[in-house]
């Protein structure tokens, strides 16, 4: 962790007893798992204090509550009442939230308890979770590799079974990227589908609150708790939900996507497509021609919105920002209003065409990331004969959903030749999140992923047996 700021251990040092070895989860046991994991993973910025733990123990909801007894970590750009919301910055290191964000309130109301605030890239801007102030989060599959970001602390905590699930935010892929690198499920809702109240914005036209867990079922239960309620609500998945009277799912796939992937990622993606087809899904080829042009306008929006949002911070407290973030803010300020108008027009044009394309399929299947987890410090990735900047590759596939506002989910699908997880992404239609999760549930069952990292701190099975 170097000279980074260690997490404030608000009274968890003497935690004793309880826990997964007794067949249930508890705030105290979760606190102990955090304590045990922190030196290796660096997944948390702050953990719940004594008062918070005490208050959490008391109001456990009845077993009928959908998230009863779930331990949930929260990315540190989402407010948890009584705890700082640093957003990975020094500026807000001591900025204590006076109340829960709406999404946090929702999971608590469904019976979950909050275990702590997870590490992230500064302001949520980046894809590594290598924070200059709070340290680096390591991948539990291989501590020498990065975890992805910006919700990397949330992903590491879930993948290593420190907690059952986590909340994150996703602007350009910040939930799906680390989910892919750590072999878990990461869900980005349709834009606007979950309240962003109490969340530190980055690029508000693309920001969403998402969920990370080890199964689609868990993600779906969280979604049911945090989503905005329509006039009529639909039930969540049940593990053995009967779909016999439904048509088989149609999966869209653009083979040219694999030109942008390493051999490992291409192999795993092809296997997933083949498995889905063998299991009865209808795979239809689609051609996302705009795939070659959408990333630049996406990047302009992704830089210009934070630049406007944080211009006062840059002007008043530049000494508290890292050089990287200062540079990106300055770059974002360099775009003209004409650049922005053009980028926004592009987004409208792209989104309309993208959803027209999706109109015939239930979900578009892509790799989540063009490459698997790589050692810390890697800045270039070889694909074919060419070497690519890692930051240009990271959002290559996840940006499709971000710029269009579509829901998307990353599922673990296989291992690289060096034994690290590789994810696939399913992108659904706008505001058709439940359909997307139905497809994801089906694909998850087909793929049958059941591998967990070498380094774990809890036992998922006992949580299921609560």
């Amino acid at each position: 962790m170097g000279e980074s700021i260690p997490p404030v251990k608000y009274g968890i040092g003497d935690v004793q007893g309880g826990g997964d070895d007794e067949g249930t989860d508890s705030p105290m046991a979760a606190a102990r798992r955090i304590e045990n994991s922190q030196s290796q993973l660096g997944a948390f910025i702050n953990v719940c204090n004594e008062e918070t733990i005490a208050s959490e123990v008391m109001p456990f909801k009845p077993e009928s509550s959908t998230l009863a007894g779930w331990s949930i970590a929260v990315k540190d750009n989402i407010d948890v009442g009584g705890m700082p919301t640093t957003a990975g910055t020094l500026i807000w290191r001591s900025h204590v939230a006076d109340r829960d964000a709406e999404a946090v309130r929702a999971v608590r109301n469904a019976g979950a308890f909050i275990v702590g605030k997870t590490n992230m890239d500064e302001l949520g801007w980046g894809g590594l979770t290598d924070n200059p102030h709070y340290g680096r989060t390591n991948n539990p599959w291989d501590l020498s590799t990065f975890v992805g970001g910006s919700s990397g602390g949330s992903a590491a905590a879930v993948a290593s079974r420190v907690c059952r699930a986590a909340l994150g935010t996703d602007t350009g892929g910040s939930v799906r990227l680390p989910a892919s690198f750590t072999g878990i499920v990461g869900y980005r809702p349709s834009w606007g589908g979950v309240s962003a109240e109490g969340v530190r914005a980055l690029a508000p036209s693309m920001d969403v609150v998402g969920a990370l867990a080890t199964s689609v079922q868990d993600v779906d239960l969280i979604r049911d708790a945090i989503r905005r309620r329509p006039l009529t609500s639909k039930g969540v998945l049940s593990p053995n939900k009967e779909r016999a009277n439904e048509r088989e799912y149609v999966i869209g796939f653009d083979p040219s996507f694999l030109d942008f992937a390493t051999n490992d990622v291409a192999r795993v993606t092809e296997q997933a497509i083949t498995s889905a087809a063998n299991a009865g899904c209808i795979v239809q080829e689609v051609r996302v021609k705009e795939f070659s042009t959408y990333l630049e306008p996406w990047m302009i929006l992704h830089m210009a919105e934070p630049a406007e949002l944080y211009s006062a911070m840059l002007q008043e407290s530049p000494h508290l920002l890292s050089a990287d973030v200062k540079g990106r803010l300055r770059a974002g300020q360099a775009f003209t209003s004409g650049d922005l108008r053009r980028a926004m027009l592009y987004r409208s044009w792209f989104s309309a065409r993208f959803f027209e394309l999706l109109g015939e399929v239930d979900a578009l299947l892509t790799p989540t990331v063009p490459f698997g987890a790589v050692p810390h410090g890697t800045r270039h990735i070889q694909i074919g004969q060419e070497e690519h900047d890692i930051f240009a590759l990271l959002p290559r596939f996840t940006g499709l959903a971000s710029i269009s506002g579509a829901p998307a989910i990353s599922l673990p699908a296989g291992l690289s030749t060096v034994g690290l997880p590789i994810g696939i992404q399913l992108i659904g239609k706008l505001n058709r999140d439940q359909r997307l999760l139905d497809v994801a549930h089906r694909i998850e069952g087909i793929l049958g992923w059941s591998i967990q990292p070498r380094i774990v701190f809890g036992d998922r099975r006992s949580w299921n047996d609560r």
Binding site: T293, G327, L393
Partner: protein, 82 residues
Amino acid sequence: MRTMRTMRVSEQHVKPLKDGINMRFDSGDSTDAMGDHRSIDLGVPVDASGDDDLAALVLSLRSSLELWNPASAFGLPKSHHG
């Protein structure tokens, strides 16, 4: 954009499949939809922090977007005279 079609077995991106599966593969041309894609490298580091690098990044993104013609994309008539 709409080029929906069913996928062919034996495309290089699809592993050989068993007969009789419920996968509606049939014909389709072998167009290379990505044949006209540009390099995803932007010519400058995306995590650039030096002023020169950042200026180059901004210019690179701007010039890429300027290749896109919004009026044409949204189907406006080319003639601006009644």
